[in-house]
């Protein structure tokens, strides 16, 4: 087909693309990720037994805040990185600040604990499974975010894949926090982080292959 013919055909097929599709796609992906992770967490472990009491505690909101901040960072970055030529300075800054804040809290906690209590705090009672559980319930969110990205046009597929993983991992970790009764900041800073970053790493590894357009 000649380029002139192609242009005529493409032009004639023009339909309105409003309201903005990118926002709708990402909202759908985030909703799928959050609901699926919450449903899976409730089905597999149920809410933590002390949930009504925990909701009033600092550590509960520290966990939720950290996980949701990383999810928001991933979402913000996706909204930029799904568009040709865009970077994601705000999303990256937000993610960096969240990690720094939790590392600071963990350092502060370790400083006021005696040395002998460090490892028990860090390991809690579920350190072997925490990261894996987060990874497990974040899967649907990751697929949804990658699907949304494929409807867009990322020109930095590695970063975009990482952002998709970060959003899914953040939502998964937030949902997992409803089921998990660990309280230590050092536990959060290590095992929660590991679970969330695992999907970001997978996204970065798969992005260049899965996000071609």
């Amino acid at each position: 087909m000649s380029t002139d013919d192609l242009i005529s055909r493409l032009g004639a097929s023009t339909t309105a693309k409003r309201p903005p599709r990118v926002g709708l796609l990402l909202a759908a992906a985030a909703a799928v990720g959050a609901l699926a992770a919450l449903a899976l967490a409730m089905a597999m472990w149920g809410p933590r037994h002390d949930l009504p009491h925990a909701v009033g505690s600092m550590h509960f909101w520290m966990k939720a805040g950290y996980a949701l901040a990383l999810a928001a960072a991933g979402l913000t970055a996706l909204e930029r990185l799904g568009r040709p030529g865009e970077r994601a300075p705000i999303g990256m800054m937000l993610a960096g600040l969240a990690v720094l804040a939790v590392l600071g809290l963990a350092a502060h906690e370790l400083m006021i604990l005696p040395r002998g209590a460090w490892m028990p705090a860090l390991k809690g009672h579920s350190w072997r499974v925490c990261s894996l559980n987060i990874v497990a319930i974040s899967g649907p969110g990751f697929l949804a975010a990658m699907w949304a990205l494929r409807q867009m046009a990322p020109t930095r597929p590695r970063l975009a894949g990482a952002a998709a993983g970060l959003m899914a991992g953040g939502l998964g970790a937030a949902a997992y926090g409803v089921a998990c009764n660990e309280t230590a900041a050092s536990f959060l800073a290590s095992w929660y982080s590991l679970g969330m970053l695992a999907w970001a790493a997978v996204g970065a590894a798969l992005g260049p292959r899965l996000l071609r357009w």
Binding site: L10, A12, A16, V22, P84
Partner: protein, 243 residues
């Protein structure tokens, strides 16, 4: 490879022998011509646009010039609202820039046209990823560069396209270059055969006036006069009286 051009220096065009014979128009005038236009407006993206054909009258009315960014962005936004005519005009305008951009980077004509079409398809079907609050030229350039890198990856050649700014895409509009080539061919056709031959030999092929005149059995002086007359005649035809 531009030649010293004497009288033609006052013309807005710099003439260059073409590298690829893509513009051959089959009108039996031997090798086809392309121009590299050297009007300053072509490289100045912010100040004044390359006017689309048909809307040039607007600028003659003294309306303020619209930047290329503003013109293409407005077409893009209209396209997003479902305006098929605006979308077609946008794709046509981008096609010219894309042909020039890819042509300067990979050279081979058939692949250039494939890349142009791939990119236009991407521009069309990924247009919802354009954020109207952001520069359009950068969006379009990023799509083109992505397609170029994709091409390099598939052909296993050079792995990276250099990171440039949007000006790299919008530096030369091949639609206008093609139009200019046709304009020149038409102008040359109005000259008497001997003047046409002289002008082509001297200004395009690059012979000296003496050599070109000798081919026609003329003296160098007669050749000079003849070329001068040809330039004057052409200048009059494009509306300039000061030759």
């Amino acid at each position: 490879m531009s030649l010293p051009l004497g009288a033609i220096a006052e013309s807005p065009w710099r003439w260059e022998p073409e590298r690829q014979n893509r513009e051959a128009d089959g009108q039996g005038r031997g090798r086809a011509l392309t121009f590299t236009p050297c009007l300053p407006r072509r490289r100045d993206l912010s100040a004044s646009p390359a006017q689309p054909r048909g809307s040039a009258a607007m600028s003659h009315d003294g309306a303020p010039p619209v930047s290329l960014e503003a013109r293409l962005r407005s077409l893009m936004v209209q396209g997003l609202d479902g305006d098929a005519a605006a979308q077609t005009e946008l794709l046509r305008a981008l096609g010219g820039y894309l042909r020039g951009y890819f042509g300067r980077r990979i050279g081979a004509t058939a692949e250039v046209e494939d890349l142009v079409q791939d990119t236009l398809i991407a521009v069309h079907f990924k247009r919802h990823t354009y954020d109207p609050g952001r520069p359009f030229l950068n969006w379009a350039y990023s799509v083109a560069r992505y397609k170029l890198m994709d091409h390099f990856r598939r052909t296993g050649g050079r792995r990276e396209a250099p990171i440039e700014t949007a000006e790299a895409l919008f530096a030369v509009d091949d639609i206008e270059a093609r139009d200019a080539g046709q304009d020149l061919a038409r102008l040359l056709a109005t000259l008497p055969p001997r003047q046409r031959s002289l002008l082509r030999d001297v200004k395009i092929t690059g012979l000296s006036i003496q050599e070109a005149a000798a081919k026609l059995g003329m003296s160098e002086g007669a050749g000079k006069v003849s070329i001068h007359r040809a330039m004057k005649a052409m200048s009059r035809r494009v509306g300039r009286v000061d030759g």
